[in-house]
């Protein structure tokens, strides 16, 4: 337990700025995606094992709370992918750019690219929730 406490206080107290935040965000988004993935593989297998129960699962997926979670999931997947590509690119093609200044810059670029991909998707998904669950925009 002491190592978890050390980790958590270290995460908060360490002042590595962009590189540190990119590491934390990569870890959190990765854990978020894998948690969803474990649930998603099992719930999707109901399509085969118990199709009548899959209707219930679809209703959960359509709920507002789950919809908000999915909007977050899309961000997790986009950021984890863009930041992963950044790490692979630096490792394989530009290891000389593993400097504090340059990684600060590239981490911010990765976040911006992920946000640019995410915002239109999130907007459209939010529109779908408002349309189907709240009857807005003529739904």
């Amino acid at each position: 337990m002491s190592s978890i406490k050390t980790t958590l206080t270290g995460y908060v107290g360490y002042r590595g700025r962009e590189g540190h935040w990119a590491f934390l965000l990569h870890r959190i988004t990765g854990l978020g995606v894998v948690l969803f993935l474990a649930i998603h593989i099992v719930d999707t297998s109901f399509v085969y094992f118990a199709p009548h129960l899959y209707e219930e699962i679809l209703n959960v997926y359509r709920s507002t709370l789950f919809g908000l979670g999915e909007i977050a999931l899309v961000f997790c997947l986009f950021f984890h992918g863009v930041n992963g590509l950044r790490i692979a690119y630096l490792d394989m093609f530009a290891p000389k750019d593993w400097t504090i200044d340059k990684t600060r810059r590239s981490a911010m670029i990765a976040l911006i690219v992920a946000l640019v991909m995410w915002i239109p998707s999130a907007g459209y998904m939010a529109y779908n929730i408002l349309y189907h669950n709240f009857g807005l925009f003529g739904g």
């Binding site: 995606v33 993935l37 399509v47 986009f78 992963g84 349309y131």
Partner: protein, 128 residues
């Protein structure tokens, strides 16, 4: 006087973690099109409100999507579970405990992948 010596080349036998590390990187490249394609299509373009049980059955039974989904299942969940293992490695310092955690993760990975694979391989299209 300076002498230059060539660094000695040493061949190291690959251990499991080197293979796992390589797996993380190359599966990641495949997951960019596979996972992004899946979530953009199902969550954004189609949207959960338009997905029905029949739609899901017919899509999973389609041979092209079946191959896509099997690749996604195999690469994504193995990548994710090895990632979880790497997170545990940072917090568990006793080798025996880490080994036990690794075995538990391997079993969980295998069982969930098996459930998903059976559903994907066995499903038949709905005749309507």
């Amino acid at each position: 006087m300076t002498t230059t010596t060539q660094p000695e080349k040493v061949v190291v036998k690959k251990n499991f973690d080197q293979v796992a590390w390589t797996w993380m990187r190359y599966s990641a490249f495949l997951l960019i099109p596979l996972a992004w394609g899946h979530i953009i299509l199902q969550d954004v373009v189609v949207g959960v409100h338009n997905i029905t049980t029949d739609y899901a059955i017919n899509r999973m039974a389609n041979m092209g999507w079946k191959i896509y989904d099997i690749a996604l299942l195999g690469f994504a969940f193995a990548h994710g579970m090895n990632g979880v293992r790497q997170v545990f490695r940072d917090y568990i310092h006793k080798p025996e405990t880490f080994r036990l955690v690794s075995i538990i993760l391997l079993v969980v990975w295998f069982l969930i992948t098996l459930v998903g694979a059976i559903a994907l391989l066995a499903i038949q299209p709905v005749v309507s």
